[in-house]
C-alpha cells in the first residue's frame, strides 16, 4: 500500500505554511491523516488556499449546520484541519456537509500533494 504523509512529518522549521488534514468517522471509523509543508517557493499558492477558507467565521455560521448534521444520518466523515502560518495557527472542525467550497479545495489539495509524495517515495 502507499503511505500517506503523516502530519508529524510536516514540521520543517523553514516551511512557511503547514497544513494538516485529519479525517475520521465514515462507515469504517478509520482515522486518516494527510499533511503538506509548503516550501517558500510555493508558499503563496498555499497561503491563498488557506486564506480562502472562513476560519474565523465557521464557528458561528455553521453551529446550526453541525447540530442538524448530528441529528440525522450516520457514518459521515468528520474533518479536522490545522494550518500553521508565520503569523497564525488555525483550526477547524467540520462535518462532511460543511467541508465544501474553499474547505474542500484545501482538503483536496493537501490530499493530492500527500498522495503524490507517497507515490514518488514508494
Amino acid at each position: 500500500m502507499t503511505h500517506e504523509t503523516e502530519p508529524e512529518q510536516a514540521e520543517a522549521t523553514e516551511a512557511t505554511v503547514v497544513v494538516t488534514v485529519v479525517r475520521s468517522g465514515g462507515f469504517a471509523g478509520l482515522t486518516r491523516r494527510w499533511g503538506v509543508q509548503a516550501p517558500p517557493a510555493d508558499a503563496a499558492r498555499w497561503r491563498t488556499l488557506v486564506d480562502d477558507c472562513p476560519w474565523h467565521d465557521y464557528d458561528d455560521a455553521c453551529a446550526d449546520q453541525r447540530a442538524d448534521d448530528a441529528s440525522r444520518g450516520a457514518d459521515r466523515f468528520s474533518w479536522t484541519l490545522h494550518a500553521m502560518l508565520p503569523d497564525a495557527t488555525l483550526r477547524a472542525d467540520l462535518t462532511e456537509t460543511q467541508a465544501t467550497g474553499p474547505w474542500r479545495a484545501l482538503i483536496d489539495a493537501v490530499r493530492e500533494v500527500s498522495g503524490a509524495a507517497a507515490n514518488a517515495s514508494s
Binding site: M1, T2, H3, E4, V22, S24, G25, G26, F27, A28, G29, L30, T31, A70, S71, R72, G73, A74, D75, R76, F77, S78, T80
Partner: protein, 352 residues
C-alpha cells in the same frame, strides 16, 4: 384515506336521525364526503384451501429504487433500477438492489417489520457516489455507496452486512434515534452492526455458531492485511495493517476509548455492545435473530430507550425486555444479564 371505522358503519351513522347521535352523524357524513385515495402497496399473496376455508396469507414486498450518482456528490442521482426491473449489469446497482431486498425480507420475517419505516416505505439507495469515495453512509433518507478508493476499499455493496448496516441506521432513526455522539452514538453503530450481521445470517440460513460475525468482509483491497472492518465476536481483531494500524475496537469497558475523533469514537466503542450481543446470541444458540435479535429489536422499538442513552441504560433496557418477554429467570434474561456483566458495562446485574 386511512379509516379505522368501516364504511358500512359510517353509512349507518350518517343516515341516523337519533338526536343524541347528531354530532357523530355529521362527522360520519363529513368522513364519507372526503375523497378516497388509494395507496397501492406491493405484496405477495398466498392462497390455499384448508377444508372448506380459503386461507389468504399476505406478506409485503419491497419497493426499491436504486440511483446512480455517476461519480458526482449530488443526491439522489439518476434512477437506474426500480422494483421489479431486471438486473442492469452494473455490479454496484445490482448488489445494492439485492441487498436491500435481503434486508427487507429479514426485517419482515424476523420482526414483522415492513421496511425501514415499518410502513412499507420505499428503500432508496444511491451508488457510484463521488470520485474514489471510500465510504458508505445513511443520510437520513437513503443509503449512499461510494466505489472505494481502490487502495484501501474495493467498494461497499459487495458486503450485505454493509447494506443492512446502513438500513439499520434507518430503523434506529425511525425508532426514535440515538444521538450520534459518545456512548449513544456507539449504541447507534452497534445496533446497525447487529442488523448487518443478522441480515447476513438470515440470508445464509446460519445459526449463531456458524456465523462469521464480521462486518464488512470483502470490502478491503488485497493490499490490506485484514479480513473485515469489524469483528463482533472478537472486537479488535478484524485487521492489523501497516498503514491502517490495528483494529482499535475494545471488547470491554476497561478498554473504552476516549477520543474526540469519530464523534467520540462511535465506530470504536461500539465493539463493547457488539460483543455483548454476540455473547447473548451464542449463549442462546440457534438463529440469532429469533431470541437475541428479538430482545434487541423490541428494546429499540419499545419506546423506553432515550435518545441519549448510555451503555448502562441500554443494558438495563435489554434486561427488562428479556425478563418481560421470557420471564425474569428465563434462559434469555440470564444470558442478557450475564453478557453485559462480561463486557464490564454492569457489575453483576444490569437492572441495578
Amino acid at each position: 384515506m386511512h379509516a379505522i371505522v368501516p364504511p358500512y358503519l359510517l353509512r349507518r351513522l350518517a343516515a341516523t336521525d337519533e338526536p343524541h347521535l347528531a354530532a357523530a352523524a355529521e362527522a360520519a357524513r363529513a368522513t364519507l364526503a372526503t375523497p378516497r385515495v388509494y395507496h397501492p402497496s406491493p405484496a405477495t399473496i398466498d392462497l390455499s384451501v384448508e377444508g372448506d376455508a380459503l386461507v389468504v396469507e399476505g406478506s409485503p414486498d419491497p419497493d426499491r429504487v436504486i440511483s446512480d450518482a455517476a461519480q458526482r456528490e449530488t443526491l439522489p442521482g439518476t434512477r437506474v433500477r426500480i422494483e421489479g426491473e431486471p438486473p442492469t449489469g452494473d455490479t454496484a446497482v445490482d448488489e445494492a438492489y439485492d441487498g436491500l431486498g435481503d434486508t427487507f425480507h429479514f426485517l419482515w420475517d424476523a420482526f414483522d417489520r415492513a421496511s425501514v419505516d415499518a410502513a412499507g416505505g420505499t428503500l432508496a439507495a444511491t451508488v457510484h457516489y463521488g470520485e474514489r469515495y471510500d465510504n458508505a453512509f445513511w443520510n437520513g433518507e437513503r443509503m449512499v455507496f461510494g466505489d472505494g478508493d481502490g487502495e484501501v476499499f474495493e467498494g461497499f455493496t459487495v458486503s450485505l452486512t454493509v447494506i443492512a448496516h446502513e438500513l439499520g441506521h434507518g430503523v434506529v432513526e425511525y425508532s426514535g434515534g440515538l444521538d450520534y455522539q459518545g456512548q449513544s452514538g456507539a449504541l447507534n453503530e452497534s445496533i446497525a452492526d447487529v442488523f448487518g450481521t443478522l441480515t447476513e445470517q438470515h440470508a445464509l440460513g446460519q445459526t449463531a455458531d456458524e456465523a462469521s460475525w464480521l462486518i464488512g468482509a470483502g470490502i478491503f483491497t488485497a493490499a490490506v492485511q485484514g479480513t473485515a472492518l469489524r469483528s463482533m465476536s472478537a472486537p479488535g481483531t478484524a485487521y492489523d495493517d501497516d498503514v491502517l494500524g490495528r483494529d482499535p475496537q475494545p471488547a470491554h469497558m476497561r478498554d473504552y476509548v476516549d477520543t474526540a475523533e469519530d464523534n467520540g469514537g462511535v465506530h470504536i466503542n461500539s465493539g463493547i455492545p457488539n460483543k455483548a450481543f454476540h455473547l447473548v446470541a451464542t449463549a442462546l444458540g440457534g438463529r440469532a435473530w429469533e431470541r437475541a435479535g428479538r430482545v434487541w429489536y423490541l428494546t429499540l422499538t419499545g419506546g423506553t430507550v432515550s435518545h441519549d442513552a448510555d451503555f448502562a441504560a441500554f443494558a438495563a433496557a435489554t434486561a427488562a425486555t428479556a425478563a418481560a418477554e421470557y420471564g425474569e429467570d428465563s434462559e434469555e434474561a440470564v444470558a442478557v444479564r450475564t453478557a453485559w456483566t462480561a463486557v464490564g458495562v454492569t457489575n453483576g446485574d444490569p437492572r441495578d
